[in-house]
Amino acid sequence: MRLLRFAAGRLAGMILVLLIVSILTYAVFYLLPADPAQLSCGKPCTPQRLADARAFMGYDAPWWRQYLDFLGGIFAGRSFGSGSAVVRCAAPCFGYSFRLDAPVSTLIASHIGVTFSLAAGAAVLWLVLGVSAGTVSAVRRGSLLDRTVMTASIAGVSAPAYLVGLLGILLFGFTLDMVPVGGYVPLAENPVQWAWHLILPWCVLAFLSAALYARLTRGQMLEILGEDYIRTARAKGLGERRVIGRHALRNVLVPVVTVFGMDLGGLLGGAVITERVFSMQGLGALLMDAVGNVDLPLLVGVTLFAAFLIVLANFAVDLLYGVLDPRISL
């Protein structure tokens, strides 16, 4: 019952956040100097043609009216144009991209596989790598291993994704010819090729993110190792592996999971730069495409979806707290 109440409260909060994000996206978009109707008007663009294009796409109404039409479309669907050329976007319609001739939800669905594949593998890698490296560093504090891990993690935290990606491609793709230099093969089509094409982007993302987790885990672990209950556990005669793995790590994971939730949510919304370097068309590439072409429906749709994923990931993290630390009640 308590969990249900918690879930309902969070759901309401999520919807509110998404509403605010969508309003802000609309508002910001209309402050831009670029006019989407003019971009779609063709050339030469006479005032009459511009007005016709604007009316067809629904950009002739004030922004709040367009926003309400957008919200209405989610429940009732929308149609654009008239006569035999009417373009339909069935409910739930999260917008229609005139440039790509497709409903935004269809476009998101066709790009999500890439992003999920990229994010899932990278997240597993960086979590495992980061937490184990951080733990080992903390346990062997001051050792050569500790110093090496911490130096490497500084490089990881501070390196630009674009540079690491390109260097990775140059080294492992071109020079050593070990992995493909880009592209994506769907999991359903060929699982081996799927993993083969993703291994380098996974490693690049993991290198960039694991560093943060290693540092976070190390700091947290050092603090916890000084706690009374750890001393008690050791005094009871528990083995070091059990002390670290069972008692310390569990508490270390609470802040790690918090950061992980946000990172994963962000990554699911699109790893813009990594996708670009590896010529992968995920949500990040779709978002960049929308920004570059002033494609408002696509921009709002992808932004909202990315926000939804972040909110959802945070919700999952909140649920996980209870599992990791029974003292935290929901």
């Binding site: 003019q38 491609i169 068309q281």
Partner: protein, 555 residues
């Protein structure tokens, strides 16, 4: 208007984005050819993540993607070292004018077929043009929309109305009635909207993904962001086609490719990439890398000098209304420094005319000759003194805030400073810059841009940049140059249907405008492209400075 300009500006910005270390390199030639064979799969690597194949929505050049799938009434015959020519494509010739150039008649070649084997008819061409008027399908090249009688009010065929100024007396003949004589009409009917579209197959939301092919290739599959795959159209008859060679059996466009990685793949030249070429300009860092790599250098193709990069002088601003000041600016500019900032000889060649190389009727002249390309500062100072600015002049300079544009603007700034003209740069992001220089206010003295016309005609070179109808409101007359005589001459030349006579008139207009010095022609830009070792018949002419996809084959 806007998209063209933004595209043109982006294209040339990228073209000029060459590093200074290439300043002394020489172009490696404009063509790469060898023994071609029929068959194989050609791969085209492009940074675009989507391709809209609906001819009504397209602004594609006649020699690129859509040209592989569709034929139009006329098309472009583009070869390096030769001026672009318009030739019959579906039509037997470039058109027969009557009624003083207000009526144009085209006869289709016999036995032309779509990929599904059905005959291509004049009625389909008419329907294709009509649907380009629909607001649902806006976005394409639409010069015909204001020229055809009744075009201004026509909203497409989807409400059951037809456009009566397009007549189809029989299945092989199509007649266009224009509201005024227009000598460039043969170029207009080479645009994507003049592709035949069978009415029965039309579906506004879907046609762009699965159109009916009339060219050598048809769509096999299309996945937005990933690939467009084309396969041979067996009903295309090479004997009827003057410009397409249809070499490869299949063509795959790999979409959304990062241009640096594309260049690296083509430099490496291994596996399937041997049969590939990059559709984007080679990035600056890779251009330098290619110079040091003999194999890649052989496969780098640099265009002849083409699109005009120029400094627009706002003729409506205080001080700049005086022609002597504008002429002084022409003398003071350091074109040599500008060319270095633009990447040296791989970036372009010095310019002095409005009509660009590769366009029929161009005459070479230089109204503001200087001892060497770095300018004539003494002459500039004398002219400024004559105009009452002996103590100097202060000007504002709107420029896009990307590093390449800024470097070029600084080269101009320093050149003008030598003559006592103090220039303040006003950097703006690309969209803001466009709005700033094309709005009705025109609150700037100088700006830097470039222009590649939509079709290879002097008209497309001059009218959009200097007709007074193109000032503000999104128009690209950035000098805000308004001269009633020139406007009248432009209208007269546009109406001239005799190509030779028209070219002579355009030459006069070119010089007449530059006498008023509303711009400083800086350079004719070059673009560089890279291809794999299996690719042949790959060339880039002066106009358009893009590879001619229609003739590329594999060895």
């Amino acid at each position: 208007m806007r998209r063209r300009s933004v595209t043109a500006v982006l294209a040339v910005t990228a073209a000029l984005a060459l590093t200074a270390c290439n300043a002394n390199a020489t172009p490696t030639g404009s063509a790469s050819s060898g023994t071609a064979r029929k068959g194989g799969t050609l791969t085209i690597l492009t940074s675009s993540s989507s391709v809209n194949l609906d001819p009504a929505k397209s602004q594609n050049l006649a020699i690129t993607t859509l040209g592989l799938i569709f034929r139009r009434l006329t098309t472009w015959d583009i070869k390096p070292g030769q001026e672009g020519k318009v030739v019959g494509d579906l039509a037997q010739d470039a058109g027969t004018p009557s009624d003083g150039g207000k009526t144009w008649t085209y006869k289709l070649k016999p036995n032309l077929k779509y990929a599904d084997g059905t005959p291509i008819t004049a009625e389909d061409v008419k329907y294709g043009v009509e649907r380009s008027f629909a607001p649902e399908l806006s976005g394409g090249l639409g010069y015909h929309k204001t020229l055809l009688v009744g075009g201004a009010d026509y909203k497409g065929p989807y409400q059951g109305k037809t456009l009566d100024s397009i007549e189809v007396p029989d299945a092989q003949t199509i007649v266009f009635k224009l509201s005024k004589p227009f000598g460039d009409w043969p170029w207009i009917v080479s645009m994507p909207a003049f592709t035949p579209v069978p009415k029965a197959k039309d579906d506004v939301a879907k046609y762009g993904q699965n159109p009916v092919a009339s060219g050598p290739y048809q769509v096999e599959s299309y996945q937005q962001g990933t690939a467009l795959k084309l396969k041979r159209n067996t009903n295309w008859d090479a004997a009827t086609d003057p410009v397409r060679t249809g070499g490869p059996d299949n063509i795959t466009f790999q979409l959304g490719q990062e241009s640096t990685v594309v260049a690296q793949r083509l430099i490496a030249d291994s596996g399937d990439d041997r049969d590939a070429f990059g559709a984007s300009f080679v990035p600056p860092a890779q251009l330098a890398q290619i110079q040091a790599n003999a194999s890649a250098k052989q496969r780098l193709v640099t265009s002849d000098p083409g699109a005009l990069a120029y400094l627009a002088i706002n003729t409506t601003r205080p001080g700049l209304t005086d022609v002597k000041v504008r002429q002084a600016i022409n003398y003071a500019v350091d074109k040599k420094a500008f060319l270095v900032a633009a990447g040296g000889t791989l970036g372009g060649d010095y310019a002095s005319t409005l009509i660009t190389p590769g366009i029929a009727g161009r005459a070479q002249y230089d109204l503001y000759p200087t001892p060497d390309p770095s300018g004539d500062v003494a002459k500039a100072k004398t002219l400024l003194a004559d105009a009452g600015h002996a103590t100097g002049l202060k000007l504002s300079f709107a420029v896009e805030n990307d590093p390449q544009s800024l470097a070029k603007a600084q080269a101009i700034q320093q050149g003008l400073a030598r003559a006592g003209i103090e220039v303040t740069l006003k950097p703006l992001d690309s969209d803001s810059w466009f709005d700033f220089v094309t709005n009705d206010k025109g609150d700037y003295d100088l700006t830097l841009t470039s222009w590649q016309p939509d079709y290879p005609s002097a008209n497309a070179n001059i009218q959009p940049l200097f007709a007074s109808s193109e000032i503000g409101g999104g128009g690209f007359n950035l000098s805000r140059y308004s001269n009633a005589d020139v406007d009248a001459q432009i209208e007269q030349a546009r109406a001239e249907i005799d190509a030779t006579a028209a070219q002579k008139q355009w030459q006069q207009i070119d010089q007449r405008i530059l006498t008023d010095a509303p711009i400083v022609p800086l350079i004719y830009t070059r673009n560089s492209f890279l291809h794999g070792s299996g690719v042949t018949d790959f060339f880039v002419a002066a106009f358009p400075a893009y590879p001619n996809y229609l003739q590329v084959s594999l060895r």
